[in-house]
Each structure stands twice: as C-alpha cells, then as structure tokens.
Amino acid sequence: MSATDPSAAAPRPARAPAVRSGRRRGSQRRREIAGLLFILPAMALVVTFFLIPLCMTVWMSFHNWPLMGAPRWTGLDNYAAMMKDRRFWNAMNFTVWYSIVATIAIFGVAFPLALFVERTGRATSFYRTAIFLPVVVGFGSASLLWAWLMNVDSGLFSPAAQALGLTERPVNLMATTDGVFWSIIVMVVWKTAGFTMILLMTGLQSVPHDILEAARIDGASRFQQFWRIKLPLMKRTLALALILSVAGSMLAFDQFYIISNGGPRNSTLTAVYWIFSQSFVSFKLGYGAALSMVLLVILVVISLVQLWLLRSPTGDK
C-alpha cells in the first residue's frame, strides 16, 4: 500500500527485429485495446461509485439538501455554520484524542508482541493465532460483546474488579466519559493489536539475517540490534502500520454507536458519528457533506504528515 512506487510499469523487453515490425505494430495495437478493455470494468465502477460520489459530496456541501424535496444552493453557509458548530469541533477533538491514545496503546501492545512472536515454533504460532483471532470478528459483534462485559451488574469488568478487591462497590463504566473511553480503548486494542502485530512482525522478519549476524559478532546487544538496525530498516512497514491505525481510529464509528451511543451527554461522539447523525438522523445531507469534506482534508493532512515524519533520509528504501 505504499503510495510512492517509482517504477509504475515493468520495463518491456527489447523490441523485435525489424523484419516483422509491421505485424508487430498491429499486434501491439490490438494488445493495447485488450488492455484498455480489461481495465474498463474497474474504471467504470470506481468512477461511478467512488469518483462521482466524491465530487457530489463537494457539490452537496454548498447546498441545503434535504432527503425529500429540492436542494437549494446556499454557497458557503454550511461551512460558516460548521465554524460555530461546537458539537462538531468537540467531536473532532475527541476523535483526535481517541486516535492518539488508541494508536499508542495498540503499538504499545503490538510491538513487544511482534518481537516475541517473530521467532518460529509451535508455541509462538499458538500465541499468534490467539492474538489475531479478534481481528476477524466484526466491530458490530465485538461492540455488542463489550457492551455486555461493561454491564454493571452481570458483566465482566465491574464484578471482576469487585471480586479482586479493587473497588468496594459496583462501578458503572457506562456512566462516565472515562469509563466508556477506556473500556473502548481496551476493546480496540483487543480487536486490532493482532493485525498490527502481524504487520510489524513481517517488517522485522524482512530485516536481512546477515546484517544482524554481523552486528551480533561485533557485540551489539539485543537492544542495540533492535534500536539501531531493525527499527530503521522497517520504516516502511512502520509507516504503513501507523497510517492504517491512525486512519482507522479517525474514522471510528461502530463501537461508539453501539456501546455508548455517543454518551454520556454526547461526550464520546466521534467525527463520523456526528456526520452520520447530521446526515441520516436529522437528514441535513448538505451539511453532512460539508462536514465530510473537512474530515477528508484533515485525514489527508494527517497521512501526509505521517509519511513525511517517517520518510527515509536516503530517499528510497
């Protein structure tokens, strides 16, 4: 998924002898047409259901656009209204905060795990499977499960904390912003750390063995091998894992919609949640489109910043 690939097409073999060039040119032409025809279905789908909707989002954002009835051009009104939309900016703040905490938590768990499960063996393959298992469970099912684990009377966390003597009386995690927030962080780590772990493990394994061997002979400690050799050599994987994790958290919706409904008192509304409720609950589609555009711009900027931060000093690797 690295967006910067310098050699977009494989170099073609040397041209055929001149004798048959006429026939060759004809077949080359036919080949190009075949190639275009092959690309056509994908192009048509992506243009119709991705590019056109994307342009429509821009167009809609300049309108008052109800679900029924005619849309009305309002120019920049939606954007002006957004500036004063406290709830949107609160949601945006919350989403950024959530993304930072979730990403740190996911990497904090996934990176050590990747180092441990990098080695081969029966036991490590069991750990890999166990930790990857929640990745395949959908956010919908996982959220319903978590909502129940958070239940104050019969769930898991509150009774367990009481049994262990950590708290004296039942704690209703749903009642406070912190309770909801940290419970969802734990869930997201549980659900996605396995994926990040596998990505990072791939990066670690791609570090050439002879380099590590040479370092070991020169007396580099385990920590030095990791910090000075493995880490710099896996920058691309690291960038990919980071971007996927941040982008995923910036678009968080399912878990907050299902577990907390944005509550308590709208304190866990995310950006996508607010866009969703403006667009499909209040049916202010034009306003929702304007919010979407802002979110898209923010996402692109964040991705670019991450790519820039993790760029290789030598240029290509």
């Binding site: 967006a3 395949v136 791609s206 489109a289």
Partner: protein, 281 residues
C-alpha cells in the same frame, strides 16, 4: 563464570516473557470463553452464579431461540448472497485491471493507476450522502443491490494494488512465449495469469469475505428494510429487542461470529501469510 550468570539472566528473561505471553493469550481468549459460557446457560443461572461458573444446565436451545426470534435466517441469507456475488466479481474485475497495469505500458496507464491509488486514500465514510441519493434515485435503496456497487468500488483499489504487485513478479517470458504461440490476451489472462495467482487470490478472497460479512456503516445507511438487513445490522436490531436477555444476546453474537472464526481457523495459513506478503510488496 560470567557466562553462566549471563545465560541464567537470559533464561530468566525468557521465562518472564513466556509467562507474560501466556497471560496475554488468556486475556485475549477470555471474551470468547465468557461469551460461550453465557450463551449456553439460562439467564437466571447466569445472574445467580456469575459468568465464570460452569452452567447448572446446558441450554443449547438458546441458539435455536436466538436464531428464530432474531430472524437470523434472513440476515445470513442476505450476507451470504452479498459475499457470493461481491467477492468473485470483485476479484475478477480487479485481476482483469491489474494485468495490463502490471504487464503493459501504454498511454494513460499511469493515470489510471494513480486514480486507483487515490481510491486507496479516500475512505468510503466521506461519500455516504451521495451514495444514499444515488441509490434512492436508482430505486434500489433498501435492497441488497444498493450495497454491491459501493462494496465493489471501494474494495477494488486495494485488490488491484495487490494483484498488480503479484503480476509484476511473474516472469515476462511466460507472456512473451504465449504471444509467440499466437495466444490472445484474454487466453493469456485466463489460462496463464489467473491459474498462477491462486495464492494471492485466496488471501484476497478471505479478507474480502470477512470484510463484507462485518461491514456495518454503509449497510446501516443504505438499508432500513428488515428483509434486506445484513448480519451486523440484524444483530443490532436483535440487541434492541433483547437488551437485558444477555444469554440470548450472546447466543446471537456467537452465531454472528462463528462463521468468521471458522473461516479464520481453517484458512489462516493462507490468510496471515498472504496478508503479510501483500503488504510487503
């Protein structure tokens, strides 16, 4: 002497690491254990004894009750239909596009590829409003047909990217030789390229099946009729009705995740290795 101390310290670290790993694995698997223990007992039993006890009486009929009252047959049928249409179709279209992008150089091919790369960067969450408008004006909002085009369009960029990467490492000589023998591009694609790319296709098919089964937001926006609900949306609906019936609810959740768990456990060899390979490329 130093050596012995060092190796002792190292062995102790290894032991601590192993212990930690066991702890983490237990924590990771615990929700599955809890969900299972809850789904197979009665509500009263669970409230009396807590979730970590063995059920007084096994209630396998919870699954039947959840399946029937939750109308999971409708949701399963819908999700399976989506997967059976979307996954093969998407992979075919993606491979078709990836072949010329990998093995032919012609005017505009770079532009096309960049368009697909942009598709990778833009999330579907920012085009929900136009999609709803489009599907309603096409008259297919609220049907499963409304989900197939956006699922296809937003899956294609990643699949094309992976397949192009794979096709590029296949030797050009294969194609040149077939062309010498007079094979058409179509037969080169279907008789040489596709059969050789079964490993990445298998990986992509698994990823796509899981993603389609689990997709939530688009289905939530485009589908409101009960008869067109997919499994995650149906499960939400079920939860709304049985908020406090945790045993039934967990039986429902388990029903919704058993298919993906089975797919993963049986096919993880293709899945994890391929996942790693496809992001490495």
């Amino acid at each position: 002497m130093d050596n012995i101390v060092a190796s002792f310290a190292e062995r102790r670290t290894d032991f601590v690491i192993k212990l930690l790993l066991v702890g983490i694995a237990v924590f990771w698997l615990m929700p599955f254990v809890v969900i299972f223990l809850t789904a197979i007992r009665s509500q009263g039993d669970m409230i009396r004894n807590g979730i970590f006890s063995w059920p007084e009486e096994l209630r396998w009929d919870n699954f039947v009750a959840a399946w029937d009252t939750g109308r999971f047959n409708i949701y399963f049928r819908n999700s399976l239909f989506l997967i059976l249409v979307k996954v093969p179709l998407g992979l075919l279209i993606a491979s078709l596009a990836a072949y010329p992008l990998a093995k032919m150089k012609f005017r505009g091919s770079d532009t096309v590829f960049i368009l697909f790369l942009v598709g990778l960067a833009v999330p579907i969450q920012v085009t929900l409003q136009p999609l709803l408008i489009m599907m309603s004006s096409l008259g297919i909002a609220n049907t499963l047909w409304a989900l197939i085009p956006p699922y296809l369009a937003f899956g294609l960029p990643f699949q094309i990217f992976v397949m192009r990467g794979f096709f590029r490492i296949l030797p050009n000589e294969l194609i040149e030789a077939a062309r010498m023998d007079g094979a058409s591009e179509t037969s080169i694609f279907f008789r040489i390229m596709l059969p050789l790319s079964l490993p990445p296709l298998a990986t992509l098919a698994i990823i796509d099946t899981l993603a389609t089964w689990n997709e939530f937001l688009i289905a939530l926006v485009l589908i409101s009729a009960n008869s067109s609900r997919t499994v995650p949306i149906g499960l939400m609906q079920f939860q709304g009705q049985y908020q406090s019936q945790f045993t039934l609810l967990m039986a429902g959740v388990l029903i919704s995740i058993i298919p993906v768990l089975l797919i993963f456990l049986f096919l993880q060899r293709y899945f994890v290795a391929g996942l790693a390979g496809s992001v490495k490329g």
